[in-house]
């Protein structure tokens, strides 16, 4: 085995993969959330459609999208493999387990991630597949904004999206600061900031995201 594969397949290396891919997803979320928040301008989706078109056509963004997807798949595969491997490290379970030593969401990253995965499948089908692999948007039949309005007209997707955002919030509440710890960044000068940033990010981003389907469903955005 080369030293690279040896390192990345060690327990620490696999955590590093989780952290690096997780943080790139966090960076992606910031951009994604910023662009989508354009719908709150309430200009009939004009600004949002323009921004979405730029993202869809720009070469560098499309190239980064491939990297992002690779990262997401790596994050999911590595996360689920670690989850199942870790379960096997305690073959006989305790009869009584006190839950006071850690938060429930820090212990449930695999479950929260799986909920996210289920949400993502639906989400990608709604928008990504339609905009990238059909000519509905590029052919000018509908704008992406109109597609959003159609999807969120019925209550089921709205509920699924809100549940997805709640899972995201808890996943990030532990995940962001955990990622810094995994890359070795724990220092009395910076860690309080990292933890505060992680918590605020984990609350604000999912709240803004969840507000979109709700506002659209209620007809607050036209």
């Amino acid at each position: 085995m080369s030293w690279v594969t040896k390192t990345l397949s060690s327990s620490l290396g696999r955590k590093l993969i989780m952290a690096v891919t997780g943080l790139s997803l966090v960076a992606f979320l910031l951009v994604h959330c910023g662009i989508n928040a354009c719908i709150f301008l309430n200009d009939g989706g004009e600004t949002f459609n323009e921004a979405a078109e730029f993202m869809a056509k720009n070469f560098f963004i499309r190239a980064a999208e491939i990297g992002l997807f690779a990262g997401l798949i790596l994050h999911i595969v590595d996360g689920l493999m670690l989850w199942s491997a870790n379960k096997k490290k305690r073959p006989v379970q305790y009869a009584v387990v006190s839950k006071e030593n850690s938060t429930w969401y820090s212990r449930s990253m695999g479950l929260l991630g799986t909920l996210l995965l289920l949400f993502l499948v639906m989400h990608l089908k709604h928008f990504w597949v339609v905009s990238r692999f059909t000519d509905v948007i590029t052919g000018g039949q509908k704008t992406l904004f109109q597609e959003m309005q159609e999807v969120f007209a019925s209550p089921i997707p709205v509920i699924v999206y809100v549940v997805g955002c709640i899972s995201l919030a808890y996943h990030l509440l532990h995940g962001v600061q955990s990622a810094f710890q995994s890359i070795g960044w724990n220092h009395p000068k910076y860690t309080p900031f990292v933890k505060a940033f992680g918590s605020w990010f984990a609350i604000i981003i999912p709240v803004v995201f969840a507000a979109m389907p709700i506002a659209m469903h209620l007809g607050l955005i036209k």
Partner: protein, 251 residues
């Protein structure tokens, strides 16, 4: 105090175990948890029954041998103490207390409440040592060490190798222990000679022994009787990645 104990009994590594209930009477509040077991064991011996096997040695919180998982927490409900330092006044008369061994694939049960922690010894032998010159001991002040570094190294060296971190972790991860052992040497000039090889070898051994990967829940830090900090795990990550990136040795 009168208590009901629900204790894990297991003949040896290869047999299956089960819980047995014991009523203990007349326990003093000032007894330690282990002394309460002594009272119970004396009775079992007098009755011609097999006493409950449990690990202990110093009974003053420094050797790391005692290892009982009490009501869902390693070393019981109090923070910052070992089982031998846990007093019966932490419980109420009439309580039912469940006592289990540490549970981890890397800590097989030897008998009842005793587990085999030699996996920790093998992690230490993989790299938790320093080279020492022969000859006369050198002057104690010959090596300047910053006070902050000395304090940090000392805090890491407080780890007694009890394994409560592994017992508490949902992944049975040994990262708090291993990182404390790497840190106490990495922070000091005496530990520099083997520094790179130490992080690589100890982490590799930790993986071979079958401990899980850390998910940073912090359960280990909360349950550690010696207050070993998660900062050590971050330092281990830095030591390890620094070592693999810079070492010239490769197979």
């Amino acid at each position: 105090m009168n208590l009901t104990l629900k204790v894990w009994r297991q003949k040896n590594t290869n047999t299956e175990g089960n819980f047995e209930n014991y009523d203990v009477q007349g326990i003093s509040e000032d007894m330690s948890f282990l002394e309460m077991f002594d009272v119970l064991n004396e009775r079992l011996i007098n009755d011609g029954k097999e006493p409950i096997a449990f690990d202990h040695d110093c009974r003053e919180g420094i050797c790391g041998m005692c290892s009982m998982y009490i009501n869902g927490s390693p070393h019981g409900p109090n923070r910052g103490v070992t089982t031998c330092q846990l007093h019966m006044r932490s419980f109420k008369s009439g309580d039912t207390i469940t006592v289990e061994p540490w549970r981890a694939a890397a800590f097989p049960v030897i008998k009842d409440l005793t587990v085999n922690r030699s996996s920790f010894d093998r992690i230490i032998s993989a790299g938790g040592f320093v080279s020492v010159n022969t000859g006369n001991a050198q002057d104690a002040n010959a090596l300047p060490i910053a006070k902050e570094k000395a304090d940090e190294a000392f805090a890491a060296a407080a780890c007694i190798g009890c394994g409560a971190c592994v017992a508490a972790c949902k992944n049975a991860s040994a990262m708090l222990f291993t990182s404390a052992k790497i840190s106490q040497l990495a922070l000091l000039p005496q530990g520099q000679a083997e520094r790179e090889m130490r992080a690589e070898k100890m982490v590799a051994q930790m993986d071979i022994e079958g401990f899980g990967a850390c998910t940073n829940t912090g359960a280990c830090e909360a349950e550690c009787p010696k207050g070993i900090s998660l900062e050590n795990i971050a330092r281990m990550n830095r030591e390890y990645f620094g070592a693999v990136l810079s070492s010239k040795e490769h197979e």
